[in-house]
Symmetry: C2
Subunit: 375 residues, 2 copies
């Protein structure tokens, strides 16, 4: 029997009196089962997809620091009108962190060969010092890779690969992507360049355009430029893109993409139909950089769809062979195609510091925080 | 050889100098081909789906009457910013009117048995005194039925039937419908009652609720009532509806339907997921009673889709057997399930009268105009 391991774990609680509370709980782990390992977590990214569970819909202008330096507590108020959807998590101390990487320190009998190996992990509750999980939720990192290299090997890499799988499965031949200079967007460019898939990148600044140009992106459109719609329509007409993936969510962007697709489709139209073109246009919203409402002006005919998109249901539908193929590609190209860059590495306690929270929740493109719970 | 027939036909033109022009053109018809008939049109409805082609995006406060009593002309200006999508119809004199009914007055050799019969027709250009078309685009009316009985036997009946076919094909078990007291909505209630399909009706007034209650509707929710969201959620929880058909288009209604579906799904949830329930929720927008933007607040997880819906692509995808079955049901239940009611019958010239245009374009629920070109 190995010794029982005890460590700190970040927890997020929404209380029934409309408060958000973050704290560090002391957690003692049972022995791993036969096909389980315990990993000392050394790197876990703060993805946009983690922020919803971590911070809820709290009003961050009300953040208050409390507790002690070693065991800080962060509180903030939640506007009452935002409480309606939170019923299922009320007064529960919830662990956070979708993915991470670290070193295997204990293992069940079927996983003994992994002790001392660095692994990437998926499955939530990664903002913790020790994480017990099934071997099937780990991927051993290639020789020489660091925990930071493997910390983001699931969410962004599999999402980017899943975009191209979705494209093929649904019969499209090119993709439009927004917030395109993000870590995910850069991966998607590398995949599409390697696989010969035309990709139209929508960015929000000249600096972001430069990032993508440097990695070889061909179609880059700046949504803040005065000729945005014309440039987007040209790029869509040239690539034939009828599928968009939108990380922004709120505002007019999804609508603008559909309108540009419709205008591109109508360029070659010879007859008028008041119902618009018969070309089917799909935009998937997979992110919430803008929490505001999505505004669809429906100036794009009646052959369109705007839908939510989430990785897990895609993976479940895609089946084990596609999953295995995607995972293998991530391992093979971990430090090239799927390299992630972090602007700062912080401790668990830092993650509860109001100033640092304000910084990492900004979701600035190109900025990404890494938590190292072993610090 | 029969005599060549000449009649008046309503035409709509959008000119490149941003004017809408409606007039009556004199049209002379060639002899019908072997499988064609010529029908004297005696009834053709003004459906919401006709108004886009008929009136375009004209500013109706600028309507001007011209011409003579027998050959009136109506003009109106089009705001320049609405001209972008009209390129394919510019300066073309376009016939209007999706469906109608009348008496066969000439027929090709394969259709001679139809002379003198009343038929319903689909195919556009029905706001005309004589319409030549293929026999396959006609359905002979049952004995004793009038042209008014058969005037609306395609668009609304097939759309209502197609909603239930879509429900079955996509694996849903109940339907939410908006503008539910419309002619179409009443048909849908009768179909769903007969077929045992739970239907949640969203109306905008107590009067509309009364109309539906009188025909036996069980779930009726008034979107102007203060408890709208609670009542809608209750009805959706009880029926299990995860599919909506929305005739309104603009505003928050589609979003409210998805939110109510999500809240109903979460009533039985035992665990919190920040991505929302895994229950897939679909709203199809098939109408444009409100031309404003669709506002999606995305407070309904990530398992959702909002899409355009149009009858013709559905029928093409459904195949000939489903089409034949649907048409036969319309004929069998023409004066019961699929009875339409008209608030006024007008002539072709009336349809160009500014006061009458102002009335029929209002799309008031329960009000519907019928054009009789033989008047």
């Amino acid at each position: 029997m190995s010794e029982a391991l005890t460590g700190l774990e970040l927890r997020s609680t929404v209380t029934s009196d409309a408060m958000l509370r973050l704290d560090l709980a002391e957690v003692t782990l049972d022995q791993p089962g036969p096909d389980e390992v315990i990993v000392r977590v050394e790197a876990s990214p703060i993805n946009p997809s983690d922020l919803g569970l971590l911070l809820g819909p709290a009003d961050l202008s009300t953040m208050q620091a409390g507790g002690t330096p070693d065991r800080p507590i962060l509180t903030a108020t939640i506007p009452p009108q935002r409480m309606a959807m939170l019923g299922a998590r009320l007064d529960q101390s919830m662990p956070v962190g979708n993915e991470g990487a670290g070193t295997v320190v204990q293992a069940g009998e079927k996983a003994a060969h992994l002790i001392g190996r660095k692994v990437g992990m998926i499955g939530g509750a990664m903002y913790t010092q020790y994480r017990k999980l099934r071997v099937s939720d780990c991927i051993p990192l290639p020789e020489g890779a660091t925990a930071a290299d493997g910390a983001s090997m699931f969410v962004n890499p599999l999402t980017a690969l899943a975009f191209t799988e979705t494209m093929k499965a649904e019969g499209h031949k090119a993709i439009v992507h927004t917030a395109a200079a993000s870590n995910l967007g850069q991966m998607l460019n590398k995949i599409c360049l390697a696989d010969g898939i035309p990709l139209v990148n929508i960015v929000r600044s000249a600096e972001q355009a430069d990032i993508l140009r440097a990695i070889g992106a061909r179609y880059i459109v700046d949504s803040t430029a005065p000729d945005f719609m014309a440039a987007l329509t040209d790029a869509i007409a040239e690539t034939g893109a009828t599928l968009g993936f939108d990380a922004v969510g709120g505002g007019k962007l999804a609508s603008q993409i559909l309108t540009a697709m419709e205008m591109a489709a109508n360029r070659n139209a010879t007859t008028y139909s008041r119902y618009g073109s018969s070309v089917f246009k799909q935009v998937y919203i997979y992110g919430m950089l803008d929490f505001g409402p999505t505004l669809l002006d429906r100036s794009f005919g009646l052959s369109w769809s705007v839908s939510g998109w989430l990785l897990t249901p895609f993976l479940m539908k895609a089946g084990p062979e596609v999953n295995a193929r995607m995972r293998q590609r991530v391992v093979d190209e971990l430090t090239t195609t799927f390299a992630s860059h972090y602007s700062a590495t912080i401790s668990l306690a830092d993650a509860l510091n109001p100033e640092i929270v304000a910084a990492y929740q900004r979701k600035t493109t190109g900025e990404k925080y890494l938590i190292d719970p072993s610090l």
